[in-house]
Subunit: 306 residues, 2 copies
């Protein structure tokens, strides 16, 4: 499929904080875009920018050559794509489905098989880079599925991302995203634990960040979330509940692949604890609050009197 | 004390891979330096550069105004500084001891008390930045002890380091270094686990590194050690056995401070496992080999057939 505006018709399902920015870039590039979202109000800005509303994933698909989905949980992915009113029922022969939700590799494979049997193409393409990356079109997009379809979609990837990487057959994009989340998990634990250690030792935390941020202990998370933690800012960049979903999927995949990763297991437990304690809608840095409670530490900490 | 070459006489004890570079910078700046090391041959290059050999820490101290120690384990620190032939027995009134070994905060306090009772000054100043940082004088130096002594030593810190940070009273430098090591530990676990996950999922690991290195999963370790792991290079930047020492000290301090850090505890266990399996003299990235053995994975992995 040759993709170019305005002849290629796009569809976008799921216009949350990530999806709305990504979809906006496609509209801005001149593509005709049809949108659907469970909460219709979240499509208002896109419709004002030129998108057309449709009443279901099915209706979006009927009017599109390529449909993107960016929804919440694997169950949402399943309903949106494979359901009775789902995308695969509406695409015409040769149409392409691109699921950008962080979801299960096994579900990505199931979708690919279903799509193929209908003469359709499917791609899994989860992203990292957060709301800022989405807004600035600097996402890392991790792509699995048929390589020729990945290549066909290149004009669209470059509108949304900066690091565009093909990883192999269906599910490979999801596996790469899970790899990313395993990395993030260990970094978050050690960041929160290290800051609590430093606090309990009586340290000035700003001074500690100065000493440790630029060397072997340095990380994106420490540079970006460390200062937020110090000023008591636990607002979501990335929701705890979404991270719990991703870690849970990673654990499922490990069980399936008979892989024992002890760090991942404790990470998943700790983040489920954060969620159980009621902080699922805070940012992932709020693991610190949970570990602080466990250790009878008030936070934000009064650094004068640890 | 006003410190400047050539009137200020320096001593250096411990000329391993870190110490010899750091001491070399002091010699190059024009200071008269007396050196001692358990294995005398490791001082040869420094003596050729102008340093004078002495037969014991005591003898070094007798000929120095400021003595640096950079040795291995807390027991070595204790013997070198507090022992019968130790530094504190040799320094004259007003002399300064600077321990740059990564060691116990409690021992740093003990040394500071002993020094003070003798009319001496002591500073704990562990570093991060590794052999390259030592060679290029780009270390992060984390300093505890009397602030005026820290200030007096400024002409010397700047010869060895780039990030020079005072952290408070005796032991505060050591606490900061332990904070650094807690951070590194979580990053190492998640890096090794993530690479094994990716491998077992059938991924091309180079492609995965491309996707995950620059975003929220990014870290110094992933950028610097990830590529080494992929090519099967487990040579030490930083020895497993030294990391086990640091993590063990961090755990001791947590017990003393009644602080429960579940991630640190699993990290210390995993690295003790690496050491028990015989890899104590490999680099910290060899945690991957231990986790690979546990999961019956051969490494370096033939990525074509996971």
């Amino acid at each position: 499929m040759k993709i170019s505006p305005p002849s290629t018709r796009l569809g976008w399902i799921g216009t949350g904080v990530m999806g709305r920015s990504m979809c906006g870039h496609l509209i801005q590039a001149g593509y005709p875009v049809t949108v659907f979202n469970r909460t219709r109000e979240k499509t208002t800005a896109l419709v004002e920018a030129g998108a057309k509303w449709a009443d279901s994933p099915l209706e979006v698909a009927k009017q599109s050559d390529v449909v993107f989905t960016m929804v919440g949980y694997p169950d949402d992915v399943r309903a949106t794509i494979l359901g009775d009113q789902g995308v695969l029922k509406g695409l015409q022969n040769g149409g392409i489905l691109v699921d950008m939700t962080s979801s299960q590799p096994s579900l990505a494979i199931e979708i690919a098989v279903a799509a193929s049997s209908l003469g359709l193409h499917s791609i899994d393409a989860p992203v990292s880079g957060g709301d800022i990356g989405a807004r600035e079109a600097r996402l890392s997009i991790m792509i699995g599925g048929e390589e020729s379809t990945f290549q066909d979609l290149m004009p669209l990837w470059t509108l949304m991302g900066k690091t565009i990487q093909y990883h192999g057959k269906a599910g490979a994009g999801q596996h790469c995203k899970l790899t990313n989340q395993i990395l993030v998990g260990g970094i978050m634990i050690s960041m929160c634990e290290a800051l609590l250690y430093a606090y309990r030792s009586g340290a000035n935390l700003e001074s500690v960040l100065t000493s440790v941020s630029s060397g072997a202990a340095g990380s994106w998370s420490l540079s970006n979330l460390g200062p937020r933690i110090l000023r008591g800012d636990f607002k979501p960049g990335f929701y705890v509940e979404h991270f719990v979903k991703d870690l849970g999927i990673a654990i499922e995949e490990c069980k399936r692949m008979k892989l024992n990763l002890p760090g991942l297991e404790i990470c998943e437990q700790l983040y489920r604890t954060v969620q159980a304690e009621g902080d699922g809608r805070l940012g992932t840095q709020s693991l610190l609050l949970s570990l602080a409670r466990r250790n009878q530490i008030q936070w934000p900490a009064n650094q004068a009197t640890p």
